[in-house]
């Protein structure tokens, strides 16, 4: 990573950390972990399951909300405040600006996930009194959640590069919801014929597949994750993010900023 990208990334990270919304969401995640302990007490034999399910779901959902709401403003806010002109008047290329913003936001989310994960493991220790080998699988779920964030961040940046913040949020959130149904969409495509099949198959491969990245439920039951899935999901997330970022770079390169 060149120095300019690193500088933009670190500034994005600092800006996000200074953002009060981010702090509030972290506090909410901690509260949810605490709620997990409470829910465990009013149910039967699922204390640990609740902590894992609720904890990881909170990490995932809060991270996605952060990714969308911070990501959509990364470009438009810079244009609105006119700070983008200051940045671009220096020897910084437009693509470096986009890539720097991406790494900054992703880094913010990784740090955010790290602290949320501490909360999840703390809650887990509270209900189980000890860790077992199967608990290590939670790291795999957290890794997949970070892969989700990488995709969402790149999509938010893509939308942010050409649309208003509000519309970008709608687009990004809609894609997250549709992406959760990716496997259903592929099933639907397989059942259709002719042009519809072509269209549905194209859409199914174009939208991000979040369903393969969501393994929270199976991790809660300590079901092992095949190493092939880890590898393929990693590559998929990287390629998908690269695709979305490339689109963002192309659009931003040709965008008239006057």
């Amino acid at each position: 990573m060149n120095n300019r990208i690193a500088h933009i990334a670190s500034n994005t990270f600092r800006e996000a950390v200074r953002d009060r919304v981010l702090y509030n969401l972290i506090a909410f995640a901690v509260l949810l972990s605490a709620a997990a302990i409470f829910v465990g007490q009013i149910s039967i034999e699922i204390e640990k399951l609740v902590v894992i399910n609720l904890g990881l779901t909170a990490v995932s959902l809060f991270g996605i909300v952060i990714a969308i709401f911070i990501g959509i403003g990364l470009v438009s806010k810079e244009i609105e405040k006119r700070t983008l002109y200051t940045v671009l008047s220096r020897p910084v290329r437009r693509w470096e600006f986009i890539i720097g913003k991406f790494f900054g936001l992703t880094g913010t989310l990784v740090v955010n996930t790290f602290f949320m994960a501490i909360g999840v493991f703390g809650a887990l220790l509270y209900v189980s009194h000890k860790f077992v080998r199967a608990d290590a699988l939670i790291f795999v779920a957290l890794y997949f959640i970070i892969l989700e964030f990488i995709i969402i961040c790149s999509l938010s940046l893509l939308f942010s590069s050409f649309s208003t913040p509000l519309l970008s949020a709608v687009f990004a959130f809609s894609l997250f919801v549709i992406g959760s149904f990716a496997e259903d969409l592929r099933g639907f495509a397989a059942m259709t014929h002719g042009f519809t099949r072509w269209l549905a198959t194209g859409a199914a491969y174009l939208i991000p597949n979040f369903s393969a990245l969501n393994i929270v439920s199976s991790i809660a039951h300590a079901q092992p994750v095949p190493s092939q899935l880890i590898l393929h999901n990693s590559l998929y997330a990287l390629f998908y993010a690269a695709m979305a970022l490339s689109g963002a770079v192309i659009i931003f390169e040709y965008r008239n900023l006057k």
Binding site: E45, I46, N53, L54, V216, S217
Partner: protein
């Protein structure tokens, strides 16, 4: 600055008073509409739709529905309700959302199968639940045990109970007890000893305090039933031999060579009534006994789980 602080203090006080007043009013409103806060409604009763709406976070939703099922059963059981209409749908949604949530099968079946007020009185739904659980967790031997248990205890269908135990005994790492139960079912179904084996197994295989306590209550009831049956036989034999019925327990004990006065599993002596029936001294502690109650006795709604 001083003025700002005054405003903040007044606003803060106003906030606290308003919050307290609204909470107080809500309590009054709840009292006026007692069923409003716990209305038995399932707005979404399709497990498939709920699974779709969960956006892949179905594990958490299953936990929420399972907790709701527990709370629903707990509240209704506590209030002595006779109907548990939402229990089966809640369990169906829970297990469809997360088919590996084995607690929902183990406990859900024990909520569904017994007759009211101990349960929902729906053993067929309990069996459907267990079969669904076995289909998705074929290597969990405890599910076969629970299935056999329902057939044995609630439906008195001993061949099917034997079949469930036999199926479970073939599962890898199954408890050897299952094979024994399958054999016992074939030869001695309906006997006290078989029932005792079942409840002992339940006690040994559960970590849940209430399930274990429930097993203890059942074992206590079985022992009391067996004792009373035996004592009643002794009373009849005494009558045949002497031509009159015993007037006291000590007379019966002396005549039949018993070692002291016979006592129930809690150590209380059994009573001999003037019409020569054997009764429990404190029947409230024997919710699952079927004998030894005074005519017209009504058991309390809450069991004495905290008793020895």
């Amino acid at each position: 600055m001083k003025q700002r602080r005054q405003v903040a203090i007044i606003a803060g006080a106003c906030l606290i008073v308003s919050l307290a007043a609204s909470a107080l009013l809500l309590r009054h409103i709840d009292q006026l509409r007692p069923q409003a806060t716990l209305e038995d409604v399932l707005y979404l009763n399709s497990p498939t739709v709920l699974k779709r709406l969960s956006l892949g976070y179905n594990g958490l939703l299953a936990d929420i529905y399972w907790t709701r099922a527990v709370q629903y059963f707990g509240f209704r059981h506590h209030s002595g309700a006779e109907s548990f209409n939402l229990l089966a749908p809640l369990l169906e949604i829970t297990t469809n959302l997360d088919p590996h949530l084995t607690a929902a099968y183990h406990f859900g079946a024990s909520f569904l199968a017994p007759h009211p007020p101990d349960g929902a009185g729906q053993p067929e739904r309990a069996i459907q639940l267990m079969e669904f659980g076995i289909q998705h967790n074929p290597n969990d031997w405890k599910l076969y045990y629970d299935l056999g248990f329902i057939y044995y205890m609630n439906l008195k269908d001993y061949p099917k109970a034997a079949d469930a135990f036999a199926r479970g005994s073939k599962v890898p790492n199954a408890h050897p007890f299952l094979r024994l139960l399958a054999a016992q079912m074939a030869e001695h179904a309906g006997e006290y000893e078989t029932a005792r084996m079942m409840w002992s197994a339940t006690y040994q295989n559960s970590q849940d305090k209430q399930i274990r306590q429930n097993a203890v209550e059942h074992l206590r009831g079985l022992r009391a039933d067996e004792d009373i049956t035996e004592l009643q036989k002794l009373v009849a034999r005494f009558g045949q031999r002497t031509g009159q019925l015993p007037t006291s327990m000590s007379e019966l004990a002396a005549a039949e060579g018993l070692r002291g006065l016979p006592v129930d599993p809690l150590g209380h002596p059994y009573k001999l009534t003037p019409d020569s029936r054997i009764e429990l001294t404190d029947p409230d502690y024997f919710p699952f006994a079927t004998k030894g109650f005074a005519p017209g006795y009504k058991p309390p709604q809450q069991f004495h789980y905290d008793q020895p």
